[in-house]
């Protein structure tokens, strides 16, 4: 036991690094986090989340929110952060946070969708796949 504790102290940094990466991998598989972020070293293992698209349907209007777009009522910096967060980590919590800011009138439902590009290399067709959708 004493030896194990000694080894843990000796390799504290790589062990901590391993735990962070393992936690990131867990979030990727269970909560929809992109492989590119969160300290799991999954860069270049899937398409970058900046290519994802966020579409909203509200009061009969369907439109895309780009990450360089400013959302009314919050700063440009916060808008960018929020949209990138929705793209990189499209879970219910982050989508709801965006819905809360975008929804001006409680009487109308808002739908937020995150779409991911997909290439079929056998025939070079390009399409989009729905990754996550919520209606609030």
């Amino acid at each position: 036991m004493a030896l194990n504790r000694k080894k843990i102290v000796k390799y504290f940094v790589p062990i901590l690094m391993f735990l962070v990466a393992a936690f990131q991998l867990f979030q990727v598989n269970n909560d929809g986090l992109t492989r590119w972020k969160g300290g799991g070293y999954g860069m270049y293992s899937e398409i970058h989340y900046s290519y994802y698209e966020v579409w909203i349907t509200y009061q009969g209007e369907i439109k895309e929110i780009k990450h360089d777009e400013k959302i009314e009522g919050i700063s440009s910096r916060r808008s960018r952060r929020l949209i990138l967060k929705v793209k990189s980590f499209p879970n219910n919590r982050n989508l709801r946070a965006l819905a809360k800011i975008l929804k001006k009138d409680e009487g109308y439902p808002i739908t937020i969708q995150v779409w991911k590009p997909k290439i079929n290399i056998d025939n070079l067709s390009y399409s989009r796949v729905l990754l996550k959708e919520i209606t609030e």
Binding site: V20, W36, S125, R128
Partner: protein, 285 residues
């Protein structure tokens, strides 16, 4: 230069290399604690030119860990993976300097190797577990619409035109309301693209896993360095990931023994090159 490197011990060279990488990181980062960072930047410049002993003080590395911790905790899901590596490298230095003098080198070498192993292990595992990587579509996407080999492809006009034509098609398609049943046809020969994509996909996976295996099992230190430098060059040609590559070079330095001045020289040259590219806004930091 070679003699100078032989005289410098591993801790000294690693300290300087890591502080240079940290300096570039602060210089290029846009995190909110800018004033504090500028103060820190001045300390590093002063230490590098006038009093290098400051770099071997624990307080220097504790401060760097604090700065990086603030950055990581406030931007956990925003910062790139190599920012985590930089944090762990600085944390490692804190522990190295707490060791007795005669144990510092061994401690740095063992932990540097373990950091490299964790990094390579997860980089390979993530690729293996990613369906879009394994079926070649991730590489296919970058080959058809740009992203890889920009240094080389930017010089070939036909490739530029091919990528630009596909980007136009994609942009036009993406401007429409998404529908899962709709698709468009990209330019190019599917047979050629899919063959190149699959070959490149599996080359990346095999080479990365091989470097992991070499660092895990192969005892010959020279072979380890050949593989690591091979990986650094391969990544550099594919994508100018200068920030990540300079950290790989730092980890390479930690694996050098007294006789391996040539490798130290190569890593220092590469760190300098990548740092210069970052300052000149070439590639990614």
């Amino acid at each position: 230069m070679k003699k100078l490197l032989q005289n410098l011990n591993l801790i000294d060279i690693s300290t300087k290399a890591l502080s240079l990488i940290f300096f570039i990181y602060i210089f290029k980062s846009d995190f909110p604690h800018r004033r504090f960072s500028i103060f820190f930047l001045l300390i590093i410049i002063f230490s590098l030119f006038f009093n290098q002993k400051i770099l071997s003080k624990i307080v220097f590395w504790v401060s760097s860990i604090i700065i990086l911790s603030i950055d990581l905790t406030t931007n956990w899901y925003r910062v790139a993976n190599h920012h985590f590596v930089l944090f762990f490298c600085c944390l490692l230095f804190f522990f190295v300097l707490r060791q007795p003098k005669h144990k510092q080198q061994d401690y740095l070498q063992n932990n540097g190797r373990s950091i490299l192993l964790v990094l390579l292990f997860f980089a390979s595992i993530q690729k293996l577990l990613s369906p879009t990587f394994i079926d070649g579509s991730f590489v296919g996407q970058y080959l058809t619409s740009g992203g890889f080999f920009q240094l080389i492809l930017s010089k070939i006009e036909s490739c530029q035109n091919y990528i630009a034509s596909n980007r136009t098609i994609i942009t036009e398609f993406n401007s429409q309301v998404p529908n899962a049943t709709e698709s468009i046809q990209l330019n190019g020969n599917p047979k050629i693209i899919s063959t190149i994509s699959l070959i490149y996909t599996y080359s990346i996976l095999i080479f990365e896993s091989l470097v992991f295996y070499v660092f895990l099992r192969v005892k010959n230190l020279n072979i380890r360095h050949y593989f690591l430098i091979g990986l650094i060059i391969a990544v550099f040609i594919s994508r100018l990931e200068c920030g990540f590559l300079s950290l790989l070079c730092f980890l390479g330095i930690t694996q050098c023994n007294e006789k391996q001045s040539n490798f130290k020289l190569i890593y220092i040259f590469l760190i300098t090159l990548f740092s210069a590219l970052i300052v000149l806004n070439v590639g990614f930091h």
